[in-house]
């Protein structure tokens, strides 16, 4: 029983950064913009958040700095991909390569330093539930915050006018423009949200998951999140499920080792990536379904006629 609780709790922790960054990317893609720069924005968020917390001693300062850094990075992307109509694949890749380099450069002097990370907070009553109590309701603040963001995103997309606007822009920017919607503004906002969330997800890694900074500490999570959005067919509910599934996959090797599996670490460490490919296969072999779910204008730059 204790083991199960521990595994579930670790799954939630491992799934949280994925959930955060993927929720941002979901909104971004729903507006028709594919930002492959998640990994770069996460890394910048992680390093900026860590440095801010280290120098001020405040976790809140770290979080805010990380989100602003992610946002600033995403604006670089937006200028290229939204305003200048650059190829979104290339611009996103550029953002990842740039963010990886810049974060390593900025963080070089901070490797090996440590901070007090986020502490677990037990929610009264709920945390007394058997098994789930400790797994779900004895977590750090950011885990709870990720649920709030999830609920916000789900409700926004489903019930708000803003959500309708966002979806309209993503499905048919031309029609949206003809109806007086500001396509580029909506896309800028969506990209900005994605950037802030990626920054936050990065900060989760450097302030809560492992309170320190190491080069490339995201180890592909930004890319996994992109696969996760495809896996979720661009729907928040499935995204939540998917994030924890991927979270479970990423701690599977620890669990197996804990159970006494004597398999080489390096082979077990491949598992999250193998699982990601398997998920992609499962979800993509029906091209018709994939096409129906994909926001219609995804990846297409839009230039309103002046």
């Amino acid at each position: 029983m204790d083991l199960l609780t521990n595994i579930l709790a670790a799954t939630v922790v491992a799934g949280t950064p994925l959930l955060l960054v993927a929720l941002g990317e979901l909104i971004c893609e729903r507006s028709g913009v594919l930002n492959l720069g998640q990994e770069g924005m996460m890394l910048m968020g992680a390093v900026a958040g860590f440095i801010a917390t280290l120098s001020t001693g405040s976790l809140a300062a770290g979080i805010v700095t990380a989100m602003l850094t992610g946002l600033a990075m995403s604006m670089l992307f937006a200028v290229m991909a939204v305003t200048l109509s650059a190829n979104q694949y290339a611009a996103g890749l550029a953002l990842t390569i740039f963010g990886t380099g810049l974060s390593a450069f900025v963080g070089a002097g901070f490797v090996g330093q440590s901070i007090e990370g986020f502490e677990k907070i037990a929610i009264p009553l709920l945390s007394d539930l058997p098994v789930l109590g400790r797994a779900l309701f004895t977590q750090d603040l950011l885990v709870y915050f990720s649920w709030l963001v999830f609920a916000g995103v789900a409700l926004f997309l489903r019930f708000s006018r803003g959500g309708l606007v966002l979806r309209a822009v993503g499905e048919s920017p031309g029609a949206a423009n003809a109806n007086g919607l500001r396509v580029l503004t909506v896309r800028y906002l969506a990209v900005a949200f994605g950037g802030a969330m990626a920054g936050l997800a990065g900060a989760y890694l450097s302030l809560a998951y492992t309170p320190m900074w190491t080069e490339n500490m995201t180890s592909g999570r930004g890319w996994i999140a992109l696969a996760l959005v495809v896996f979720a067919s661009w729907r928040p509910g499935r995204l939540l499920l998917g994030a924890y599934l991927f979270g479970a996959a990423s701690i599977l090797h620890l669990v197996l080792q804990g159970l006494g599996w004597r398999s080489p670490t390096e082979l077990l460490a491949m598992l999250p990536y193998v699982v990601t490919i398997l998920m992609l296969i499962l979800l993509s072999f029906d091209p018709v379904r994939t096409r129906l779910n994909t926001p219609l204008s995804l990846g297409q730059p839009y230039r309103p006629g002046h």
């Binding site: 492959l36 770069g40 670089l76 200028v79 290229m80 305003t83 200048l84 109509s85 650059a86 190829n87 694949y89 290339a90 611009a91 890749l93 550029a94 953002l95 390569i97 740039f98 963010g99 990886t100 380099g101 810049l102 390593a104 450069f105 070089a108 002097g109 080069e215 180890s219 592909g220 890319w223 996994i224 992109l226 696969a227 495809v230 080489p264 390096e266 082979l267 460490a269 491949m270 990536y273 193998v274 990601t276 490919i277 992609l280 296969i281 993509s284 072999f285 029906d286 091209p287 994939t290 730059p301 839009y302 230039r303 309103p304 006629g305 002046h306």
Partner: protein
Amino acid sequence: MLQLERRPEASTTLRWLSPLLALALTVATGFLLFLGMGKDPIQALTFFFITPISDLTGLAELGLKTAPLLLCAAGLTVCFRARIWNIGAEGHFLIGAVAASAVAVSVGEAGGFLVLPAVLLAGIAGGMAWAAIAAFLKTHLNCNEILTTIMLNYIALNLLLYAVHGPLKDPYGFGFPQSVMFADAALLPALINGTRLHIGLAFGLLAAVAVWVLFARSFIGYQLNVVGEDHRAAAFAGFSARRLTWFALLVGGATAGLAGAAEVTGPIGQLVPQVSPGYGYTAIIVVFLGRMHALGIIAASALLALTFIGGEMLQIAMNMPKAVTAMFQGMLLFYLLTCDAFIHYRIRFRRPLPAGLSQPAAPAGQEL
């Protein structure tokens, strides 16, 4: 009011000027950055761009690092021209290195002129096999190649780590995760005696020539171009997108796999975990910077090779983090894409029109 307006025709001048502009902007930003860090910017830029290539040894080192970049970039050019977004050169490179090392280690001290070709072929085959996975996933299971190739890169890295910690580990290596040193028969001959430069650079140049021939003289190159420009037109013409995807990815795997093999049989002489400082990823920048053209990628490979050596130089001489390399590379690509926007668009100054009036819409669509 400043407005972005589509040019009636793409500007050829800017197409070739853009990389130079991007380089100038990168250098200028680097200048400001070093100044902000309290370092002497002139000195730092000299160490970065000039000192490394001011003697024969330096030039040889430049060639040494140009070789893997050029090989990877040649293969990626074939993919990117057809808009197949293969991000997997890093993985192909690593698997190529592991496969070549496996053969080199198992041959051991046995000599003979067949050893080296066998080792290199193993590298090529390894890279191709790794690329074939992505090709199969794309053509038969409809998986996005960006995501699969990235995931395969991480898997390849873990396979490499497994190899040096497990089956290929030197049993007498004092526990270091690395293979034995390869026998002489498995090592690439030097290109210039007395330097580390080996014939891997010749492979790279040959690959660039092959790319030129492919796109300038062959039907399959033409088909790849058409698929990249307009996949519907290609489908109407009866070109098989599936066959072309396989072709492009296998070529990409072969060249990057050869690059990996040439790295372990060239300067390193054994399999180590740090066999690639990210050549496969940097090669993506090379392809964009080199305008997907044979001559362009040769020049771009040399420039990006310089950023690797320049970064090391700055680390030694001015105690700066080695990551300055990756930052410069990222900046370069960023500026390049921004400058590239002006190949197709131009900025016009225009007074805002009275409300209710609008100008005819510019034609939609874009090219890279």
